[in-house]
């Protein structure tokens, strides 16, 4: 009887960490995402004067076969130095193999070099475009709207 009790205690001591890990949810889990969306950004000018608006375009492509729904496209930049009209845009749906182009008006409040990129989010997965540099030079007499 004593041996049986000792065996049970020993076995339970060995299994306890596994029970504890299972109870606390520890462990390694992984998910692999395949992203069908691709986004590219183009600037109509690489250099503008302060207060002069320029255009930035983002082209979103659905490389997959299934449609993408509720797509959010955001033009990311330093908002302290640039004024971007309505930086987050929605695209209701994009069929497989199709693309959509969105454009923003960008205006520099202060001289400097600004890095811009577009971020597209669909089905909870975000993809960033390559980033471009917009140089804002002083000399403009206008003010950004």
């Amino acid at each position: 009887m004593t041996r049986r009790v000792l065996a049970i205690v020993l076995a339970s001591s060995l299994l306890a960490p596994a029970f504890a890990a299972a109870a606390s949810g520890r462990g390694v889990t992984g998910r692999v995402f395949a992203t069908p969306q691709l986004v590219t950004i183009t600037l109509s000018a690489g250099s503008v004067q302060v207060g002069v608006a320029t255009r930035a375009e983002a082209t979103v492509q659905n490389l997959g076969a299934s449609p993408l729904n509720s797509i959010k496209v955001e033009l990311r930049a330093d908002h302290a130095g640039l004024v971007i009209g309505d930086p987050i845009r929605d695209v209701n749906s994009l069929k497989g193999g199709k693309s959509a182009t969105l454009s923003w008006t960008v205006c520099g409040k202060a001289a400097g070099s600004y890095v811009l990129l577009a971020r597209v989010t669909a089905n909870g997965i975000a993809v960033d475009s390559l980033a471009r540099v917009l140089v804002v030079v002083s000399g403009g007499k206008k003010a950004c709207p």
């Binding site: 339970s12 400097g112 070099s113």
Partner: protein, 200 residues
């Protein structure tokens, strides 16, 4: 029967003791990568996209903004001092998000080439006083163009040497030796003679 009850009690005791406290702090950022396609100029400052830092945990947490190196031998690691964060440290409550401005200030003597760095937020301390090092970051790549024609020439030579190694060392060495031999033969007369020693 009493022995079985004892064994069950021991199992429960060990299991409870081994169970860790559930984590209630963390960090996330809202940018995955910043790959700048335009070559950057030494001596210039660049405003990077604003980085959103979020506390997804359940307790107030302090963060410090960091620029850390990526273990990739093919790309250079920029100096952490090149990056300016505003604010450089912040404390967020559970579920709160803050926007951090990031600037890349390149020194005039920045070496031309391709660079890679991780820009993000690292947990500096919890409200409980504990300190952990979890971090979330955006991978950032950029390239620096040479500041002038001499730098451009030096950079292209350096790149050529690196790309064609070891032939980039062997071929010039052979050429240099051949040239030296040709010059020596042209200016000096080298006479090698083998004579038998006369018997004394």
């Amino acid at each position: 029967m009493r022995c079985i009850q004892l064994a069950v009690a021991v199992v429960l005791l060990v299991a409870l003791e081994a169970a860790p406290v559930a984590a209630s702090s963390g960090v996330s950022v809202d940018l995955g990568r910043v790959d700048i396609t335009d070559a950057l100029m030494p001596g210039q400052a660049y405003s990077l996209p604003t980085l959103g830092v979020r506390n997804p945990g359940t307790e107030p947490t302090s963060y410090v903004m960091v620029a850390s190196a990526v273990q990739d031998a093919s790309l250079r690691h920029p100096d952490a001092a090149w990056f300016v964060f505003e604010p450089s440290a912040l404390t967020l409550g559970p579920g709160e998000t803050a926007q951090v401005q990031m600037r890349l200030v390149l020194p005039r003597d920045a070496a031309p080439g391709a660079y890679q760095v991780l820009l993000g937020a690292q947990i500096s301390s919890l409200a409980t006083g504990a300190s952990v090092g979890a971090a979330a970051a955006a991978r950032t790549t950029f390239s620096i163009r040479p500041a002038n024609a001499i730098d451009a020439f030096a950079a292209s030579i350096g790149q050529l040497v690196s790309d064609l190694w070891p032939w980039s060392a062997i071929v010039p060495s052979v050429f240099a030796l051949a040239s030296a031999g040709w010059l020596i033969r042209r200016r000096f007369a080298i006479h090698l003679d083998v004579r038998k020693r006369s018997a004394r």
